[in-house]
Subunit: 452 residues, 2 copies
């Protein structure tokens, strides 16, 4: 006898939790498709050489070995993917001739990382990615469309106010050039600047000077990345300080992106120009996105991404610029629940339980269920021979909205009872109007947010 | 530079293929939920001891090792699951107190097996499972409900005529007892009988006698399992040959299952009693299901399952009887395509491409797209600065249904063109009626099976 136990870092949900996660995944998927992103799914497994081509950290990779593998077995050379970007690059290079460009792909899959699990870090988790990959070039309009997708998704999730932070990497880079920070210093400086929000001005200033940045430069830089004005004020300020070509290009691009975001109806209060965000080091080259929950900044960015110059330089000769975002749903989901932003609901997607007062009426119960299912109403029939009290306890525990109750007398009279388990109300309806009444009651419950 | 190549046994689909697979997965999921099955998702990883508890074949299991793992690292003891039944057993034992019984769970996930890949065998594939798990006992009505779910799924998939083969293991077992085949011989005999369809009578007779079964017994057995009559004729015949208690119980159970399948409207031509099917050796103890495509028997069973006495005997003391089925979608899907039963369609789920004749009109293009998206119509805007011909080529290659075409003249006149890419027809509509016209055209295309 083996006592089953959770495995650290590999989260699992109960049905009532999984139903909520599934709803979020569905919101993400339909919004991705609404903008013409086509789904792909790559195998969970890549060749080891593919995963480490771009410096994938060996420590984070789970290699696969057949338990009874012979020496030299090829399976030793395969490993689980740790993100969906490397697989995308490999997939695009491998299938280049079969894809249409710009290639708009969505990909929602589990990824695995062999990290030491910490709070909120998992070894297995969902990533939900979209990217648009150009063949040689890619229009800047694409960068403007992405925030409108982010906006649509988190609005539909109904998780409270959020802000899409937006920047253009060239602005930050141009500024660094203008105050005389060298390319060698840049990596360190950006890494420190990325932590401004978490560490505060004092610590960041201190760390910058430790890295050999003069106090004057550090002060200028911190002031610049802390610019706190309205979006149009910042755009105006940037336009008035043409420091160098990189800076000007970044400003022009950002302005265009903001202009078309407005056309796409992303409301002003849902985005904010933050000239300090860099998202990692040298990966992104243009537009950069982060998304934070206004009332829960501690959760960190819930959706990030940006523009890059070349997706697949390790796998093919062609230049493939792209822009994309990623939602790490598995990290986000339990935090939304813990923070009370998301409610866990019923352990079933079915609103209706047809109880079985009398096993000899089972044919009738099945007919009622069939009628409801024909109307797309998810319905369960309780088959076990238990007292009504036990059946209703089961119904309440699982969170059904309605229980249908009838025995042979009721079927003789062609009337039966619908018990509303959310309000406690019971009504008697004629056999012929059961479906109609169920539809009505579910619709009322939905209006009052008592059923989704 | 690494040249990316497919990994044998790990299938991947192009977007146009993935879209079809996704549609099938969606049909399966919604039908599972229609009958009140609640989704769960277990981690892809189990402890090794859990996977091999019930004699899981070591050779088929992919163990996980962190690439840079230290000696003694726990991750060496974890491995990818090879089916969804062992994880279900572990999950139910682990969460017993938090689940409501009968526990109706659906689970649609990838599984991995380190087998040598052969035609139609994969090392990574989707399984789509439902099971109902009772706590101590489980009503036989559950067994009758399963075929109606199978029927609904394959009808919705529109993959031609199919037959659900149904049996009760006790009938076969009772028959074996009645002709004096011992429990020791049973395993071999069942394994051979399971191959009757593939090998034919002569070879099966031969193999049975090699195993020491007398020719008389072998002949009787082959005759019995080949019974080829209508469902009601077979039920009558079985009822008239009360060989022993096991046989009678099996017959009675089968009769009840068939009776309630009829109540659930599974048409007579979609199921068939086959007293010979056993599905493996000693796992199933009652009702047994297989499903075959009438015109493509070579594909084998596309959905199988049955009733078992005890799900989780290795993980908990409680008796947990269950009944369930599994659809191996990844094996089925390419075969359906190869056989021409399923057509591969567009490489996008969006019916509409808004072309961009004139980059200065981009705001207008985005507004049209926003209007369509508000009506739940998946829409892509072509952003690149290319000639219309190139844009329409892109549209045709990806398989869009409609292209919207307009330049500054058209917007000045408030009229624009909708090109139906399936029929070649072009119409001019007023700017205000674009959405209405698009909805009309999509609906017409759907009626003629030119859009899904």
């Amino acid at each position: 006898m083996i006592t089953p136990q959770p495995i650290s870092g590999f989260p699992e949900w109960l049905p009532e939790e999984k139903i909520v996660e599934q709803r979020l995944l569905e919101i993400i998927r339909t919004n991705f498709e609404r903008y013409g992103f086509s789904p792909i799914e790559t195998s969970a497994v890549e060749r080891r050489e593919v995963l480490i081509a771009k410096g994938g950290n060996d420590k984070e990779i789970y290699g696969l070995t057949r338990m009874a593998a012979e020496e030299g077995d090829e399976s030793k050379e395969i490993a689980l993917h740790f993100d969906l970007t490397v697989p995308l690059a490999r997939f695009v290079a491998q299938n280049y001739g079969k894809l249409s460009f710009p290639f708009r792909r969505s990909q929602i899959q589990k990824v695995w990382r062999g990290e030491r699990p910490q709070s909120g870090r998992y070894r297995e988790f969902y990533q939900c990615d979209i990217d648009v990959i150009g063949d040689g070039e890619l229009s800047l309009f694409t960068d403007a469309e992405i925030p409108s997708i982010i906006y649509g998704i988190f609005l539909a999730m109904n998780i409270g106010p959020f802000v899409i932070r937006i920047n253009n990497r060239k602005i930050l880079q141009g500024y660094l050039e203008s105050i005389g920070i060298s390319n060698d210093e840049r990596v360190h400086v950006l890494r420190i600047i990325d932590k401004l929000e978490r560490f505060g001005v004092k610590r960041v200033m201190n760390e910058l000077t430790i890295k050999g940045i003069t106090e004057e430069k550090a002060k200028k830089l911190v002031e610049f990345v802390s610019l706190d004005y309205t979006n149009s004020e910042i755009l105006d300020m940037l336009a008035e300080m043409p420091l160098n070509e990189t800076f000007e290009t970044g400003t022009r691009e950002l302005k265009t992106v903001i202009q078309y975001m407005n056309v796409l109806n992303v409301p002003e209060e849902y985005y904010r120009i933050c000239v300090g965000i860099a998202r990692g080091l040298d990966y992104y080259t243009g537009t950069i996105y982060e998304t934070v929950l206004v009332n829960h900044p501690g959760i960190g960015s819930i959706c990030s991404g940006g523009r890059y110059d070349d997706l697949a330089s390790y796998f093919c000769e062609r230049k493939l610029p792209g822009v994309g975002i990623s939602i790490g749903l598995t990290r986000l989901f339990p935090r939304l629940v813990q923070a009370g932003i998301l409610q866990i609901g019923p352990a079933t997607t079915a609103p209706v339980l047809v109880t079985s007062l009398d096993q000899t009426c089972m044919e009738e119960y099945l007919r009622i269920a069939t009628e409801l299912r024909k109307q797309m109403i998810n319905t369960e029939v309780y088959f076990e021979s238990k007292k009504l009290g036990a059946q209703l306890k089961y119904a309440n525990r699982k969170g059904f909205a309605l229980a249908i109750i009838a025995g042979s007398n009721e079927f003789d009279n062609q009337t039966l009872k619908i018990k509303n388990l959310k309000t406690g109300e019971e009504i008697i309806v004629s056999r012929n109007s059961v479906t109609e009444e169920v539809i009505k009651q579910i619709s009322t419950l939905q209006k009052h947010n008592l059923w989704t």
